[in-house]
Every structure is written in structure tokens, then in C-alpha cells.
């Protein structure tokens, strides 16, 4: 049984080129970048090269890229920056953000901030007029994700950014799922801050970054040493950062081809699976992550589906990787208005650069048996 990995939005395997950079770094580039001697200065140069590689993928300046330990830290930091540098007590986000934003917002509410959670339509889009009228005198931040991690919807971030700009409000976007899957050019963008994570673009876990537009006031979330121009303390994860740089370089090199190839595979998978009766496709048909297929199958529950898929070698997810350990139905699927009994039966298959047409066909061939089996076991399935 060949293992078929279809959970690229949860995390990606590391590409061989990236692995090589990382392994060499782990062996040799061990100096502390803050050190005066050559070994340390070499580490520092490598970190700066990686920063340039990531900046180049973003169409940004190197000085606008700050490395963190994860997308989560970048999200937390962005909210922290708004809280500490802007006067005002109101923030705007939407109901289908990643928990790294939602729970950070909830923590801010406990501190006395007011947060508007904009609803989304069935595709996962916020209403731009509603956004604009939610802006108040004391609004300090708008944070709307770029690409939703569950249903793959690509948000109109430039329009959102334009509204934010018009009202002089800071605009952050969680770009963790966008990086490497959507062409980016920060030099022409309305985005003030964007979160990223290496392990979603064939890089290692434990490295992320926050893009911060030049001219934005910055304060650190993690206090300590003078790393990252005094804005993010902690000895740099040099091998991880170098690997992130290499992953960014590869991503830039292959972006167009990557998107085209995945889009084709995605459409093939979607077509195949939508043959299954009483299935509902989630998210927008076109404005979506190139590798994301999210479908709900009525009368059955997600985890059971995942276990049976795993038994035939297919790694998949039901809701986000983070929520699938829990019992609650995904807040994203609830957010786009699905009733509980449908939301529970969701399957997310996310394709990536190692996915083949055969993998897709294998799933198309075997998923119907699994669905049937679970439906036969379900007390919700109507009797013939």
C-alpha cells in the first residue's frame, strides 16, 4: 500500500533541496549570529540571505521580513503590535480565521478590547460594505486571512487593504496558506503585515515570519536579546531559517507551474468525488487554494472517514489539523452556514507537489466504499 499524503495544508514534507540546506546548516553553521567571530558572522550572513530569499518571494524589502518560530507566533505578534502601537480598543476580524487569530482576539477581549467578528457568506467571503461600516474611530486593526486553511477560499485582501488604508487602520493578513500558493507582490500591495510559516511550503516546522511594511511601528512580542533588529528576541534558528529561505527560493522559481499543476489535480479530484450522492462542495469554485478540495458527505462523521482512509494509506483531514483532535464541528464550516449534521461530515484533501494523478484516482476510486460503509452504519441515513 503506497502512502498517499493529502494533507499539505496541515503540513508539508520537506523538499530534498531544502533538507540538504538544513542538514548542512545543522552540521556546520552552528555559530550564534550575535557572535563577533567568523563562525557567528557566517551564521548572520546566512540568516540575511534567507531573509532576502523570502523577501524576494514576497516582492518585499529584506528589512520588512522578521523571522518567528511559527505562523502562530506571527499572528500573535501582529495583534500585539496593533495593541501596543495604536491608540484605541477595537479590532475587526472574521469568524473563519485560524485559531491563532481568533484565540488571540478573545484574549484581547478579556483585556478590555472590543472585537468585531465579521460573518462570512457561503463561500467564506466577508461583505466589504459591512467591513467598512464596522470601522470605528478607535479601530486599531483589521485582520482578515488571505487564504482559508479549511475551505481554501482566497479573500479579496487588496480590496480589504484599500478600505483599511482609506480609514488609516492597520491591516494584517494571515498569509500562512497563501505563501507559495498565490502570487504575491508586497511592493504593490495594501497589506501592512502578513504572517507566514515555513512548514506549509516544504520547509521545516518551527520557523515562521511576519512581513511588516516599512514605516509601520514595531514592538517586540518576545523580549530579550537584540536579534531581528531588536524586534524578536531569542537565538535565531539558523538552520530552520536557512531552510525557510531555500523553500522560498524554490517556491518563487516554480510558483506558476505549481499553481497550474495543482489546480488541474484539484479539479480532477473534485469532479471524481462529487459523483458521490449527497455530497456538498465547500468554498468558492475558483477563488480557492490551488490544492484544496473540501467536501461534506451527509450522514457521516469526519473522523471515522479519516480512520478508514488512513487504513487504505490516505492521510487526510476533517476541518483543520488543529480542530480535528477536538469534537467540536469546525468553526469555519459553521461560519459558512452549514448545519451541524453536514459540517461534521467534512473531508479536506489538500494536494501538493508530490501528489500524482494516480494518487487522485486512487482516492476517487476508494472513497465511495468508505462513504457507503459509514452511511450503512449511521442512524441518520434515511432507510430506502
Amino acid at each position: 500500500m503506497k502512502p498517499i499524503y493529502m494533507d499539505y495544508s496541515a503540513t508539508t514534507p520537506i523538499k530534498p533541496e531544502v533538507l540538504q540546506v538544513m542538514e548542512e546548516a545543522l552540521r556546520e553553521v552552528y555559530g550564534n549570529p550575535s557572535s563577533v567571530y567568523e563562525l557567528g558572522q557566517t551564521s548572520k550572513r546566512r540568516v540575511e540571505e534567507a531573509r532576502e530569499q523570502l523577501a524576494s518571494l514576497l516582492g518585499a524589502k529584506s528589512r520588512e521580513v522578521f523571522f518567528t518560530s511559527s505562523g502562530t507566533e506571527a499572528d500573535n505578534w501582529a495583534v500585539h503590535i496593533a495593541k501596543k502601537t495604536k491608540p484605541g480598543k477595537h479590532m475587526i476580524t472574521c469568524t473563519i480565521e485560524h485559531h491563532a487569530i481568533l484565540h488571540t482576539m478573545e484574549a484581547a477581549e478579556k483585556e478590555g478590547y472590543e472585537v468585531t467578528y465579521l460573518p462570512v457568506d457561503k463561500y467564506g467571503f466577508i461583505d466589504l460594505e459591512e467591513l467598512e461600516s464596522a470601522i470605528r474611530e478607535d479601530t486599531i486593526l483589521i485582520s482578515i486571512m488571505y487564504v482559508n486553511n479549511e475551505i481554501g477560499t482566497i479573500m479579496p485582501v487588496e480590496e480589504i487593504g484599500a478600505i483599511a488604508k482609506k480609514h488609516g487602520v492597520l491591516f494584517h493578513t494571515d498569509g500562512v496558506q497563501a505563501l507559495g500558493n498565490v502570487p504575491l507582490d508586497m511592493s504593490k500591495s495594501n497589506i501592512d503585515m502578513m504572517s507566514m510559516s515555513a512548514h506549509k511550503i516544504y520547509g521545516p516546522k518551527g520557523v515562521g515570519a511576519l512581513y511588516i511594511r516599512q514605516g509601520t511601528r514595531v514592538v517586540p512580542l518576545l523580549q530579550g536579546g537584540a536579534q531581528e533588529r531588536r524586534m524578536r528576541a531569542g537565538t535565531e534558528n539558523v538552520p530552520g531559517i536557512m531552510a525557510f529561505g531555500e523553500a522560498a527560493r524554490l517556491s518563487k522559481l516554480h510558483l506558476k507551474e505549481h499553481v497550474e499543476r495543482l489546480t488541474k489535480l484539484r479539479e480532477r479530484l473534485k469532479k471524481g468525488l462529487m459523483q458521490i450522492p449527497e455530497s456538498f462542495f465547500n468554498g468558492h469554485p475558483e477563488k480557492r487554494h490551488p490544492g484544496n478540495v473540501n467536501i461534506c458527505f451527509k450522514y457521516i462523521e469526519g473522523e471515522s472517514m479519516l480512520l478508514l482512509l488512513d487504513a487504505i494509506g490516505v492521510s487526510a483531514s476533517s476541518g483543520s489539523a488543529c480542530t480535528s483532535g477536538s469534537l467540536d464541528p469546525s468553526h469555519v464550516l459553521m461560519g459558512i452556514g452549514l448545519p451541524h449534521e453536514i459540517a461534521h461530515g467534512s473531508l479536506r484533501l489538500t494536494l501538493g507537489d508530490f501528489t500524482t494523478e494516480e494518487d487522485v484516482d486512487y482516492v476517487i476510486e476508494h472513497l465511495p466504499e468508505i462513504i457507503n460503509r459509514l452511511r450503512e452504519m449511521s442512524p441518520l441515513t434515511p432507510r430506502e
Binding site: 462523521e301 469534537l327 442512524p379
Partner: protein, 146 residues
């Protein structure tokens, strides 16, 4: 995540289905939480001589229903009412903390089926006093003391 025993019961569930003209049927759980179990029983001379289940839910919900029906089949009603979620857990070799409520659901589905049988057949079991299959059961707590 799951023990071998749990996976065995999930992959090869025993007693799946529905008994035609069952003597008692109980359904518990709710769709919000994503687990619904329905157990139907046939009772003969106070012995549960057939039992089947249908479950909408995660791996441990299925496994809990499967093993519970296996444990009960052939038992007297008295014996069956002694089954606790702890017994189900033990028999399964444990469940992850956040899945323990699945074993509770299995206990309750069985009790609900017996209650239905009792109601329909004018029986009374003191073990069922105060039992209400519609009660909601709290899920895992999210606060932490390290």
C-alpha cells in the same frame, strides 16, 4: 491515538444494524457534538438475546458501541444495567481523555433501549430511576493546571 482493540472494533464493528420490530430502541447523543448512537434490543425471558447498534460518530464512538453490544449480548437485563462506561473503557483498553464521553454514550444508549423496553412492556427497573436519555453530558474541560 487508539489502542489495537479500539481499532479492531472500529474496523470490524460487531452487531451493526437494526433489529426489526425490536423490543426496545434507545437513541442518545446529539448532532451538535457529532455522536449519535442507536441501540436496539430483543429481549426474551429477561435476557437480551439480540442487540444491534447504529452509530454516527468518531472512531471511539463506533468502537464503544460495538464492544458494548458484544458485552451485553446474552446477558440478563439486570446484568446489562450494571454495565458502566468504566466497563466499556476497561474492555477497550482505554480511550484518549477527550474521547471518554463516547463510552458514556454507549452506556446510555443501552440504558435508553432498556428504558424503552421497560416502558413498552410495563416493567420497572430501579437502576433506571432518574435516568433521562436526553440529558446533555459535559465534554472535556479546557482549563489546565500543569
Amino acid at each position: 491515538m487508539y489502542s489495537k482493540k479500539v481499532m479492531d472494533h472500529f474496523m470490524n464493528p460487531r452487531n451493526v444494524g437494526e433489529i426489526e420490530n425490536a423490543d426496545g430502541v434507545g437513541e442518545v447523543g446529539n448532532i451538535r457534538c457529532g455522536d449519535i448512537m442507536r441501540i436496539s434490543i430483543r429481549v426474551h425471558d429477561d435476557v437480551i438475546d439480540d442487540i444491534k447498534f447504529k452509530t454516527f460518530g468518531c472512531g471511539s464512538a463506533v468502537a464503544s458501541s460495538s464492544i458494548a453490544t458484544e458485552m451485553i449480548k446474552g446477558k440478563t437485563i439486570e446484568e446489562a444495567l450494571k454495565l458502566t462506561n468504566k466497563d466499556v473503557l476497561d474492555e477497550l483498553g482505554g480511550l484518549p481523555t477527550i474521547k471518554v464521553h463516547c463510552s458514556v454514550l454507549a452506556e446510555q444508549a443501552l440504558k435508553a433501549a432498556v428504558l424503552d423496553y421497560a416502558n413498552k412492556h410495563g416493567k420497572h427497573y430501579k437502576e433506571l430511576e432518574g435516568f433521562s436519555p436526553d440529558e446533555d453530558h459535559p465534554h472535556d474541560e479546557h482549563e489546565l493546571e500543569a
